[in-house]
Symmetry: C2
Subunit: 461 residues, 2 copies
């Protein structure tokens, strides 16, 4: 069979098998694999087992590999082929709270008709179970047409991506020989503007920190002690407020060391994208970009570092009022990094910053929640041009080279530990409500995502 | 019987009846009358009913009087007598969280032997059920010896003191003729230094505010939106942090208008008290007074206004980490007022302050949780001298005229609405852990408190 005819057969088979594929995705979505919550540890493992069985069923040699945290799923097709390719996705999902804002239970996936087309709605539908199943379905169709899988595929499916990937680096180190490929293909990103295929060529890094400030050994009466005793919530508020200046810049000393300005070429490319911050913000009830003064929104989102408070709690937060002077205050804080910013240095500088606000009577404790540098890909690898072409054929628009504000530390780890470049291709949309209630994945993303992988496989095999 | 002999008989009867009196207090403490939590509304009413029955049983005409919130208990003895006296206490209690820090269930009162003597331990033991039962027990003993109650007593027992007393002022207005007395006796304060009887002659006022800042209509992914979208937790932290300057002064414009410096006399008196801020802080695991620069600790605690954050919450606060950009942030904030500071003006100035930090994309909502000016008593009323003498006789030390950092808005309301001065006498100790887990009341406070009221009644009747 000619190459073209074979590809057509695979695409045809994917189209015919769409409902069955959606059914398989729904099975996976029913498993509440929330990695950040210890109560769901068994569910995370169940999702790993489901994937192992699924991959074994289509001809992979697939295994669950234990780690000190949640397990990895590793699968291989037969050796041989032009260049080994590693596919990466993650099968763990974000917590679902606030549950009350979901229109139906988050782990009871529903295919719904919407004005914009069919969607499958559940926690993880887009991030990242729906996405990783696009390449699994492409492999399945390939095997049904060819009788065997493409050679030299390695799959690495992680169960800790949403909780900072604590086991990932040790696992890559310990299994470097087994996992090293010519190129990694990571499916955890978005289409650009909802319709244009895109390859992410740079990603922001992340430093996650939890800070706990403690004062008195109990909550105090704010009448008796107010004005005399240290208030940990005020100390925390002052430390966090001082992280940004009036221009929206992060105040840690040397924070911008290693942050690269856009090259003229990239600036031109990004200006031409029509990045519509107003529309992006409008979809979530906002309108005005609020970041650093003097920066384009696309630059703020992809090429500028930032600091965010992800959560804060302290004192009485229930109904009504309680005039306590709280014993303790906690916050979760994250920094998004670009260029060559050093996560370890920024973590240390943040801790120094908090210490400067600490009165003698207070103590502070820090908990590390993940750290990874930004990633910038070498787009001169011909695989980028081949994938760009394949994506353009499927979607009818040239694929864009874009940045991403989100952190996919795996890309940096693949580079650092396995000396392997990554190509980040995904089919999510920016209205997918990932990490929020009522997450969804468009059936079109799922269907054309699988077809895209079939085309890319054909181009790279 | 001679006056002196009669008083001795009442004191003797109080001593003999102590165990029975503790049993009655324990009954009241078993009722979880948490006024701030709507789930406990029926319990608050049950505590009111218990008190009504108790007072009716010792000869009062006692009633439960409904309000839009929790009920009042109002009781009267027979008319006549030298001057009508109104006794005030509150039968509602603070929430018990965190429950895990209680050594036994908070509503299962236990009498315990401690190195410092016997205590009764439960939520409300000190604040304020134990205290209000001191005067109830004094009335009981008086009646048993005299055959009738002292004439012209009015009791007003409130069920909303711990939740900002929303119904109190309308109730005082509506029932002014019935409640107006020559003097109010309020039992909700402490001994000085744990042993010295004290009459509080000035109290800080309170402004309670809840502030809710909202940004996007959902929690956002901090990677995709971080650096672009407004973060309500950061907005809130910046507004709250800016409430105090580096010298510990509140920054609202005109905040210190109406704050009186200590008179030379009061300064001398307070300096002579031996107010030991180090010891007070040491008991709760702290050591350094942290308030306004250049002020004595006793002054910070009683005569200087302040601002405190009582609680804060926003974003992801569970186990692990979630890289959300929160949709909403909330804080409960209170100001303690002194002198002639105007609660309404300070509330308005606080709201203006928060508005100044609000970016265009955020909205803010405020909820009022109580407001009352500071109270300063006219100690030239001879009743103050008489009570000072009676307390000295019972405790073997001259009673001190002191201030209080806590807010007992009722004293201000009695003055404003009923043109009635208040005398604040209580027997709590500063290690009673009021508003905290493992609250207790010393049995000595309870026993000598009741004896003190018997002596004061004898002096004022």
């Amino acid at each position: 069979m000619a190459q073209h005819t074979t590809l057509d057969a695979i695409l045809h088979r994917l189209d015919e098998g769409l409902d069955a594929a959606l059914g398989r995705l729904a099975e996976l979505l029913r498993i509440p694999s929330v990695s950040t919550d210890p109560a769901h540890a068994a569910d995370v493992r169940a999702a790993a087992a489901w994937l192992r069985d699924e991959l074994a069923g289509i001809g992979f040699h697939a295994e669950i590999r234990d780690t000190p945290g949640h397990p990895m799923v590793v699968a291989r097709s037969q050796p041989g082929g032009a260049r080994p390719l590693l596919f990466y996705g993650h099968y763990d999902v974000q917590p679902v709270d606030p549950l009350s804002l979901w229109d139906h239970p988050p782990f009871d996936p529903q295919v719904e008709e919407t004005p914009a087309g069919r969607v499958i709605r559940a926690r993880g539908a887009s991030d990242d179970k729906g996405q990783l199943m696009t390449f699994v379905e492409a492999f399945r169709a390939w095997r049904e047409v060819h009788g065997e899988l493409p050679s030299d595929l390695i799959l690495l499916l992680e169960g800790e991506e949403e909780s900072g990937s604590p086991s990932l680096r040790p696992f890559l180190h310990e299994n470097a020989d087994e996992l090293r490929a010519s190129l990694a293909l990571i499916c955890d990103t978005e289409l650009f503007g909802g319709t244009r295929p895109a390859i992410v060529t740079q990603l922001r890094g992340l430093v996650g920190e939890e800070v706990v400030i403690r004062g008195a050994d109990r909550d105090l009466h704010s009448g008796l002690f107010g004005g005399l005793a240290a208030n940990p919530v005020m100390v925390l508020a002052q430390a966090l407020a001082a992280l940004k200046d009036a221009d929206g810049r992060v105040t840690l000393p040397g924070f911008y060391d290693g942050v690269d300005e856009l090259t003229p070429e990239l600036r031109r490319d990004w200006e031409s994208l029509g990045f519509d911050a107003g529309a992006m913000l409008g979809r979530v009830g906002l309108s005005d970009p609020i970041g650093e003064k003097g920066r384009m929104p696309v630059e703020m989102a992809w090429n500028r570092p930032t600091a965010e408070i992800n959560g804060i709690t302290g004192g009485y937060t229930g109904e009504g009022f309680k005039t306590v002077l709280p014993a303790e205050a906690r916050a979760k804080v994250s920094f998004r990094l670009t260029g060559r910013q050093d996560p370890a240095r920024i973590r240390a500088d943040f801790r120094d910053h908090v210490h400067r606000f600490l009165p003698p009577d207070c103590t502070v404790e820090f908990h590390e929640h993940g750290g990874s540098p930004a990633s910038v890909m070498d787009t001169r690898d011909p695989a980028f041009a081949a994938a760009r072409q394949a994506l353009g054929d499927e979607w009818g628009q040239e694929a864009a080279f874009i940045g991403s504000g989100g952190s996919i530390p795996i890309a940096g780890d693949f580079k650092t530990i396995l000396s392997m470049d990554s190509m980040l291709i995904g089919f999510a949309r920016d209205d997918d409500r990932i990490h929020s209630p009522n997450e969804k994945y468009d059936v079109q993303s799922f269907a054309k995502g699988a077809r895209s992988w079939a085309r890319i496989l054909a181009a790279l095999r």
